[in-house]
Amino acid sequence: MADARRIVVTGMGAVSAAGIGAPALWQAARDGRSCVGEARFARPYRGRIRIAAQVQEFDPASYLTAIELPFCDPVTQYLLVAADEAVAQAGLAFAKPMGPRTATIIGTGVGGMHTMENSLYLTLVEQGRPDPLAIPRHIASAGPSQASIRFGSTGPCFAVASACSSATQAIGMGAHLIRSGFVDRAIVGGTEDCITNSTMLAWEALRVLTPDTCRPFSKNRNGMVIGAGAAVFILEEAELARARGAEALAEIAGYGTSADAKDPVRPDAQGAAACMRHALADAAVEGEEIDYVNAHGTGTTSNDATEAEALRLVFGNRLSNLPVSSTKPIHGHALGAAGALELVVTIGAVRENVAPPTINWREADAKCPVDAVPNVARPMPIHTALTNSFAFGGINASLVVRRAEAA
C-alpha cells in the first residue's frame, strides 16, 4: 500500500497488573517478571483457582473526579487513565476538543462486569434498590463514550465486542478508518476486568484455567491465567502527525481479521492462518519480513497447538527460526483488552530491539514447534512484528507493527 495513507502511533498508555503506565507493562514483559498473584474478590470466593494478573493498588479517585466516578466501572477507570497517558505522550493534552475528525474505538469482551455482578447481587440476593447509574456504567460502550466526552472527540465512537479479539479489532478498525480518509486520528485500545466471583467460577468451569503456572507452548502446559487492565493508543495519519511535530512510536502497517465459521470454542488453524495472511497482505509485507511474533499463546493445550499449526501454514519452514513468544504468563490473558496490552509489548519489542520471553517454559512440545524465546529476553533486530488475538466464536485478528521511519 505504498501510496496509501500511513498510520502511526503517537502515544500509548496502560493500566495492568504491572501497574500504571505503558513503560511498567513493557518492562515487566521484557524482564520476564510475572505479575500473577492471589486474586482479591469483593465477596467470599469458593473457586479452586485463585490466581490472576489483577490490577491492584489502583485508586481511581487519584485520577478521576467525584463527578466522573459514579459513571465509571473499573474498566472505564482503567481506560481513562491509560488514555490520559496516551494523549499526553502524543502531545495532545491541550488539543481538546479533538473534534469530528477523531474516532474513539475501544474493545471489551463484556464491558462493566463488576457493575453487572454488583447489580445482580444487590437486586436478586439482597433485594435492594437498584443503582440508577448501573446501566450507563455497565454498557459495553461506556468506555469509548466516556473517552469521547473526556477528549471532545466527536467522530465515530463505538465499542468492539469480539471476546478476546476485541482490542485488536478496535485498533485495526481505527487504523483503517484513518487510511480510508474517514477520520484523521483515532483513540483506540481495549479494556477488561472479569476478575469477579461469578466470572472466575465460570472460567474455571470451562476448564481452561491453570491451577498453578501458565507456560505457553511448553509440554504439559495446563491452561491460562486471567488478566485485567486497559491499554490505549493514539493513531494518526503519518503526514498530519509529522506536520504537527509529533514523534511516531511505531507504524500500524497492516490489519487482518477473519472468522473460522466452525466452532464456538475450538480454535481452527485455517482461520487463524487466513487472518495472519490478511494482515501481511494489508501491510504489503512478505512472511520473511516478520522478525518477531507476539502470539495469542494462552497456555491452553488447544490454543497453542492450533496457533503453532497456523503459524506453520503461514511461515512454513522458516517457523523454527522465527521468534514467537507469549507474554500472557506476565500480564495474564486480559480477554477483550489482551490485544491492546500485547500491542504495548509488541511496540516495545520493535522500539528496543528485544524479543520478550515466554516465561515458565520448561520443555519443547512436538505439537508446538516454535522458537518460543524461552524464559530469557533476546536482543535482536526487530523491524517488523506481528501480534495475534484469537477469540471464542472463532474470531481472529492480527496487526503488523513496523518501526517508525525517522522523520
Binding site: 479452586r48 468451569a205 470451562l206 476448564r207 484455567l209 491453570t210 491451577p211 491452561g223 470454542v265 475450538r266
Partner: protein, 89 residues
C-alpha cells in the same frame, strides 16, 4: 457402606450414562472401543461431561488430567474413574 462403593463395571456404566446424556450420543454407539472422533465428541462436550461427573459423584476433576490423550470411550472412562476412585478413597 464401604468407602469404595461401586465396582468398576458399575462405575463404568454410570460414567457412560453421563457421556451419553451430556455428549448427546446414542447409547448403543457408546461402546468402550468407540473413538471420541467417531462419536463427534468435541472438547466442549468433554467439559460438559466432566462437569456432570463432578456433580454426580461429588468429586473435583482437574483440567490437567489425561483427557487430551483419551482416544476412545474406554480411555475416557478410565481417566474419569481414576478421579472418582481417588476421591472416594
Amino acid at each position: 457402606m464401604e468407602t469404595k462403593g461401586l465396582d468398576h463395571t458399575e462405575l463404568a456404566n454410570q460414567i457412560i450414562d453421563v457421556i451419553v446424556k451430556e455428549g448427546m450420543v446414542d447409547r448403543e454407539k457408546a461402546t468402550l472401543d468407540a473413538t471420541i472422533e467417531s462419536l463427534d465428541l468435541k472438547s466442549i462436550d468433554i467439559v460438559m461431561i466432566l462437569t456432570a461427573i463432578e456433580d454426580k459423584f461429588d468429586v473435583y476433576i482437574p483440567m490437567d488430567g489425561p483427557f487430551h490423550e483419551a482416544r476412545n470411550i474406554g480411555d475416557l472412562v478410565d481417566a474419569i474413574a481414576a478421579y472418582v476412585g481417588k476421591e472416594k478413597n
